[in-house]
Amino acid sequence: MRPPSRPVLCAFGAGAVALALLAARATPVVADGDHARDLLFARDCVELGRCALRAAPTTLAGVWQGSLWIGLVALGRALRLSLAAQQALVVASEALAVALVAHRLARLAGVRAAAVGALALTALLLPLEDAGLFWAPSPLGLPSALAVVALVRLAETGRARFAAVAGLAAGVAAAAHPVGLLLAPALALVPVLAARRRALALALGLTAAAAPLALTTGPALVAGMRRLELVGPRGLALTAALGGALAAAVALRPHFARLSAAGRALVPSLVTIAAALAGLAWLSLGARHSVATYYAAPALPAAALALGQAGGWLLERAPLRPAHPALALAALLLVSRDARRRSTHFDARFRLDDAPVVAARVLAGGARWDDVRLAIEGPRCDAAARMLSVAAPAPAGDPNEAGPARPWILLRLPAADAGRALAAGLETRSLPGGAIAALRPLASALDRDAARACFAGGVGPEGCVPVLPDPSEHIGPERFLFERRDYPEAWVHEHGGAYRLSYEVPLRARAGAVRLDLFVPAPARCGWQVARVEGAGDPGPLPATTVVLAPGDGGRLVLAREVDPARCPDEPDDHLPPCLLESAPEDAALRALAEVAP
């Protein structure tokens, strides 16, 4: 048996180092809204046998997520893989992406280039996203790397079959998350520039890309095209732009052929990087959309290939030989950076692996699966509500028969605070990783089931709607979320200019005074406040984030958020009601515990 070649050894080494570094980064999955929703889609797919081909809407109006990621998560659920095991598979796929890039660079430019490229890609992947997230962009690494490496091979050899490989990988990336579409320009241009049989390569690439999209994402694409009105002038402009680019590629073919082998191999990376930069610039400046770091994920392997080629070239000419000390130093820096990331302070957000422990108590205690976000009180009510949504069983009957929501105080605390929690009258439960959940059911002064959401200003319709419309009208997995679409997300996202969003909550009878604290992230110039209190004595100066409701029967509380993009341009479009805590004015111990959370 022949010993493995140097590039193969290089790929194994790079993959192993990347696996170690990326695995060290992984933390338990935080209960974020996006992937809680993905998990619920996956639960529908496995348990109800309905796998949605159009998943959640993205923040870019008219663009929906495809279902590839949901299908993968559903597969993990069906195979009874734990979340940690599924995270490990994602990390392994990222390590394989690093190995692929290292292998190509070792063939192209030698071991030094491979080392630089592999370290660059690992370093780029490490800070890409909150390591506790587990969502649709998570699997982008491998298909993006495979697409670019296949395009590099196409540029080297001119063989059309590599266009098919690149197309399939790019299609998978785009089906996982719409940012994968950033690979499309390179997929169209490189075959025209480099393939011996251009038309065949182009057709193979585009067909292979269309297959995974059509199979897993068809309705999302069709809906997106309709919503974005791509059949018409916009589509014409896009087609014209693509036609112009292809014509330019045809004209540039002779120049491409005259490039050195290394130069030709660099072209796919540069085209991918340029397309990603243009796409992100349009998103930021044209669509005025915030740009998250993970949006660049499809271009990272291309960036690593380009850096590897450049780094290998420089290291060959650098006076210091061998360059291993510099590479080792870079690796150490990566490790230390990673260690620093992991030594962060206590995280009060609930994690998905906390869910079984907490849900066993809260759901058994009478909370129903469609309780609203207001029903969970505490500084991190959002993560707590999502965690419970994912842990709750699928509905078996009419949710209206389950009776009114029963609110809970729910805190995630360090284990050292267990004594203080008990002293404050809370139950405690041990959570994985050494934290505790501190909780107790609440006799709330807020009549959540009668609350109304109101909207004024902007370009959307004005008025109020109940936050609990007939749940039987709800279709799709959002019905399983505590944080449901009852909160009229759709029209808030379409606001323009200044607007006012408020929740009007009737008050129940109160035997004693009730202090109400809102948890508003600082600094929040347009954050939630108590705007008005009716029929509950003198609440103090308003608007405020803390009020005291006098004992009595009835009354009304109005929580409001005045949003003026000119005054608070960077604040999130937070249309859900704020996290809050009800306590007796003298119950300082409970409030002190809640304030432990940042």
Partner: protein, 193 residues
């Protein structure tokens, strides 16, 4: 020759996009309001019939109808008159009922009549560049006027049954894609001897 072929293909693609299809414009909205009014307030499809929602996309519209109190909802797809597969055609629309046969032929005919009355003019406009107008400022095709309507329309926009596949089919697709990617990895790593 190749350049000529590419130029021809591009010209064909441009022509296809420019020619476009025919789409519902914002002007169709009052017509659908008249349909809802006739069904719910005038009882034209029978007492107790009601419209649960109307989802209007540029290409077609979906009217969710409950023909009688307690009856299962029926989705009426309203595409352009030339759309194949229709069970009934009105002057401007091809009606496709889901589930098929859920409305009696007489009820379908009454609905078609009602659509003729509600839409005196063709609600579809060409999507060609010259004739296609942008929606009025601040309005999209389905922007509601009241909050309650916003929520109802949003619900009506939820995926229909045609947007789901069984888990078994999804597994097969994932398996095929996984095998395809694995073959791709082998192809890019393997070097000619």
């Amino acid at each position: 020759v190749t350049r000529v072929r590419i130029a021809l293909a591009l010209a064909l693609a441009l022509a296809c996009v420019a020619a476009g299809g025919r789409a519902l414009t914002p002007d169709a909205e009052p017509g659908f309001r008249r349909v809802i009014h006739a069904i719910q307030d005038e009882g034209r499809l029978g007492a107790g019939a009601r419209v649960e929602g109307v989802a209007i996309d540029p290409i077609d519209a979906r009217l969710t109808l409950v023909p009688a109190p307690g009856a299962a909802p029926v989705v009426v797809h309203l595409a352009g008159r030339d759309e194949p597969g229709a069970s009934t055609r009105s002057r401007w629309f091809a009606l496709r009922i889901e589930p098929p046969g859920a409305l009696s032929p007489a009820l379908e005919a009454r609905l078609a009549e009602l659509l003729d009355e509600a839409f005196p003019e063709d609600p579809f406009a060409s999507t060609g560049v010259a004739s296609r107008g942008a929606p009025p400022a601040g309005r999209s095709f389905d922007r509601p006027k009241t909050l309650a309507e916003a929520v109802r329309l949003e619900l009506a926009h939820s995926p229909g049954d045609d947007e789901y596949v069984p888990f078994g089919a999804m597994r097969l697709v994932l398996l095929a894609l996984g095998l395809g990617l694995a073959a791709g990895v082998v192809a890019v790593v393997r070097e000619p001897r």
